[in-house]
């Protein structure tokens, strides 16, 4: 830094210091009031920070929310996986499976009708000749 810069900075600093000293009374009072409020409002917090062990505050600040969350989670698990609900679920799955089994043949028929390749096969006379041969072979096997 040059001397000129140092002088300039010193002048700036002096001017800024002066501006604080000449703050209006209203602002000075407001600042004092704010400081007192801040210091007076926080004695409990401050005591806690000064390595003073406040068991009740620790319990209420830490374990009450954690305990409440754990209880809610436990209740949710119990409700969802209760024996009644599991039976209902199993029943519903079984019914669904039966419905699927009954509908399976209908769906297969529908697929046969909607599939053009399968329709070509069923309209071919050689297909029926081949089917007769297969059935005849099966009859012979059954008779044996």
């Amino acid at each position: 830094m040059t001397t000129e810069q140092t002088e300039f900075e010193a002048k700036v600093k002096a001017s800024l210091d002066e501006s604080v000293l000449t703050l209006d009374k209203e602002t000075q009072q407001a600042l004092t009031s704010i400081r007192q409020q801040v210091l007076e409002k926080q004695p409990q917090k401050s005591r806690l920070n000064f390595n003073t062990w406040d068991f009740n505050a620790w319990i209420s600040n830490t374990w009450v929310p954690v305990g409440a969350f754990a209880l809610c989670a436990l209740l949710t698990v119990l409700i969802v996986y209760s024996p009644d609900n599991i039976d209902d679920l199993t029943q519903r799955m079984a019914v669904q499976q039966n419905v699927n089994h009954d509908q399976y043949e209908q769906i297969a028929m529908l697929e046969l009708l909607t599939n053009p390749e399968d329709l070509e096969t069923t309209s071919d006379p050689d297909f029926y000749v081949w089917m007769d041969e297969i059935l005849a072979t099966e009859d012979i096997d059954n008779a044996v």
């Binding site: 300039f8 600093k13 602002t27 000075q28 704010i34 409020q37 801040v38 210091l39 000064f50």
Partner: protein, 187 residues
């Protein structure tokens, strides 16, 4: 009780620290915001956070912590103002289509109603300094005030501003150049 005595000692230390720093903090906030009430609110928030969160730290750390919180609060204020100004300019778009959106810093004229009484011989310099400081970009303004007014070194300033030492040097050099240019006539 030893703990009670410790608490009283801490209380008095904090009271002394805040009493010493509150005027400069207020002026910094006022220069940054251009508004007395907003400056008082920022100082209050800063004091509150320091007392709530950091009063158990070493006394020697309080200054850096205080200015770190103060600068953060001032930055938040500017962000909020920036959003408000964009919204306002959007609402007034049809009325003032050609009006450019100015920098948030330039949009807040200094509230002169609560300026300190200027009784010094170089009152013009003080008035010019206020205007010139207010016109600086926020980072330059903060770095300059911390370095010149608080006398913090480059590393301390970098820590408070959460930037590199080279950034502090750059901001400081630019701020100094601008201020010297604007205050030439008053010297």
């Amino acid at each position: 009780m030893p703990m009670e005595r410790d608490f009283d000692k801490q209380y008095l230390s904090m009271n002394h620290f805040l009493a010493d720093i509150e005027g400069r903090a207020f002026r910094m906030a006022q220069i940054a915001t251009g508004n007395r009430d907003d400056a008082l609110e920022i100082v209050q928030d800063t004091m509150m956070k320091l007392v709530q969160k950091y009063s158990h730290h070493q006394t020697s750390e309080w200054k850096a912590l205080f200015y770190s919180i103060l600068n953060s609060r001032i930055l938040d204020w500017h962000r909020r103002q920036s959003v408000r100004n964009r919204f306002r300019s959007w609402l007034n778009w049809s009325d003032d289509e050609d009006e450019a959106v100015e920098d948030a810093l330039a949009q807040h004229p200094i509230d002169t109603s609560h300026e300190p009484d200027i009784k010094l011989q170089d009152s013009q310099f003080m008035a010019g300094l206020n205007t010139a400081l207010s016109a600086l970009p926020l980072r330059q303004q903060q770095v300059f005030l911390l370095r010149v007014w608080e006398g913090l070194d480059i590393n301390e300033t970098a820590l408070i501003m959460q930037c590199s030492a080279s950034s502090v040097k750059t901001h400081y050099a630019r701020a100094l150049e601008k201020l010297r240019g604007k205050l030439e006539d008053y010297q």
